[in-house]
């Protein structure tokens, strides 16, 4: 069986950037068109994807029913796949209420986990979601946080358990039965060519140096911002004005108050230390 490669991260940590670069890399380093990227279509929590597999409306199913069915959907998708699939994930690597892994190990080929300094995530994710930074700091510290809960309105994604930022990181990195590559957003910003080379090696791809350089150039932040300004971007949340906002590491130093920094460091201290952010 051809397995799924999970491209996992907490939101606003570089997941879309990596998928755009992978798309370019697989096309030999060609430019990418923001709203026509195949690798962006497969979100593990996408309602349209799950409904296509299930044949029923997910909005007629309870959250528990959806969560219970998601492993079956990934199995069906992996069974039908003719080539390895990349699938974007923002869920923590949880087990369902029935006690089985949400992302079944036997159809998993590998996972790439991207981590970003939670102080920068707080700023970016607050902007993206249209909530205050303090509210976002609270969300990131909530050990039972569920995104897209959809109690009174429906989103394009089914509900996803993110847990806290720290629990999210730990859920993915402490998975003994999964081959996993850890990427840091900060390293991607500093030297994307090297990080993309690591990704290619991990996936057993053998791109030419030109393909890596092409993929890096195709996904430079200014270029993505220009593309978003002229074409729009379908992954933009209705709560934000643009998806590609700043693309920097360390912006929290000017965007957070001392109190907010202390709060995050206190909430996420252990995992931050482990990820060398503290």
């Amino acid at each position: 069986m051809i397995g799924i490669v999970w491209l996992a991260s907490y939101p606003k940590s570089g997941n879309t950037w990596l998928r755009l670069a992978l798309e370019s890399l697989m096309a030999g380093g060609a430019p990418v068109r923001l709203n026509h990227v195949k690798q962006l279509r497969l979100g593990a929590a996408s309602r349209s994807l799950l409904e296509e597999v299930l044949g029923v409306d997910t909005s007629d199913l309870s959250h528990e029913e959806i969560e219970e069915l998601r492993p079956r959907c990934y199995e069906a998708i992996a069974r039908d796949a003719k080539r390895p699939l990349f699938m974007k994930v923002h869920d923590a690597r949880i087990s369902t209420a029935g006690g089985e892994p949400l992302f079944p190990p036997d159809i998993t080929s590998a996972a790439i986990y991207i981590v970003r300094d939670p102080r920068d995530v707080a700023v970016s994710y607050a902007y993206h979601s249209g909530v205050s930074i303090d509210a976002m700091i609270g969300i990131m510290a909530n050990p039972r946080y569920v995104a897209a809960r959809g109690v009174s309105s429906m989103s394009a994604s089914v509900p996803q358990r993110y847990l806290s930022w720290s629990a999210h990181v730990e859920s993915w990195l402490d998975t003994p039965d999964m081959k996993i590559l850890l990427l840091r957003y900060e390293d991607m910003v500093r030297d994307f060519a090297t990080e993309l080379g690591r990704v290619a090696a991990f996936l057993g791809m053998e791109p030419s140096p030109g393909a890596i350089a092409g993929a890096v150039a195709a996904t430079r932040f200014e270029r993505l911002q220009e593309a978003e300004a002229s074409e729009g971007f379908r992954e933009l949340a209705p709560t934000a004005a643009r998806f590609f906002r700043k693309g920097v590491a360390g912006g929290w130093r000017t965007d957070l108050s001392d109190k907010q920094v202390r709060q995050i460091e206190s909430d996420q201290g252990v995992a931050m230390k482990r990820m060398k952010y503290a």
Binding site: N35, R47, S48, E51, E52, V53, L54, G55, V56, D57, T58, S59, D60, L61, S62, H63, E65, E68, L69, R72, C73, E75, A76, G150, V151, S152, S153, M154, S155, A156, E228, E231, G232, F233, R234, E235, L236, P238, A240, A241, R242, F243
Partner: protein, 306 residues
Amino acid sequence: MMDYLLCGWRVRSQLTLPELLPWSGDDRVPDVEIILGTVPDHLDGAKSAGPLIEVGPDNSCRLEIKRVARYLVSEGRRVVIETANAGEDAAVRAFLLGTGFAMLCLQRGLFPLHASSVRIGDSCIALAGSSGMGKSTLAATLVKRGASLTADDVSVVDLSAPASPSILPAYPQMKLWRNSLDNLDIAAEGLLRVRRSFEKYAVPAATFFDSRPVRLAAIYGLADAGGMQQAEIGRLDGLDALGELTMNFYRRRLAAAMNLQNDSMRAALKILAAVPLYRLPLTRSFDALGAIAEELLSRHRSGLPS
């Protein structure tokens, strides 16, 4: 036992279906019978069409939603339902009137579109798109401004008539989420929830419903505007139109398991030869919907745009 109207069919059902209009037509033999009975664990020689559906060699379809019901749909005219939990009647009906309905249509050679449709004058428009795109909310906005409801969520295209494709009206109900109700000034009190655990409501729409089959004048594929403010309605042609239409074919995987891919493709080409398809970018803000509804009404009140 009651007789109901669905897509012009006489539906005789042992399960009470308050969503449907009662049958008031001739005394023909029922076109579809829905009975409460036993559904087997598996169909002999069946193919899997995803985790919930099996398709038998004769294209009979079995659907199972744990803790809700099992359904067996065959020959485009017979539905057996085995309910698992008498407490969630609305859920039993939701899967019957969604996927079960699509199974009947596919077995009968009809083309179900994932679209809500409304009648404007002597023709109708279909608003197609995946779940969460805002089909029902835009349809409800149009109905509030004087259009009639033809179908919510699944619109059945009939290509058998000698004239251009028509829509067979389904039933007078819309499913709307709480935020849409609030924005449309519809009170949620007294409305039935589709499932207990979230605020998606079944909104009766008998006064706004028109049960006469109606010519399909245009299909609008709803798309996320992705933050663009001046996104405009644009016509799609050729492969773009074919791709958009087949993408919104309701239950592609099921049709594939029923070996209906070629029939679906032929139907799609036939529809596109007669009906223009447009992309309609939506910003997912309620504020913009009124203006979009007005634009659609003015386009179609004054005849079909070229």
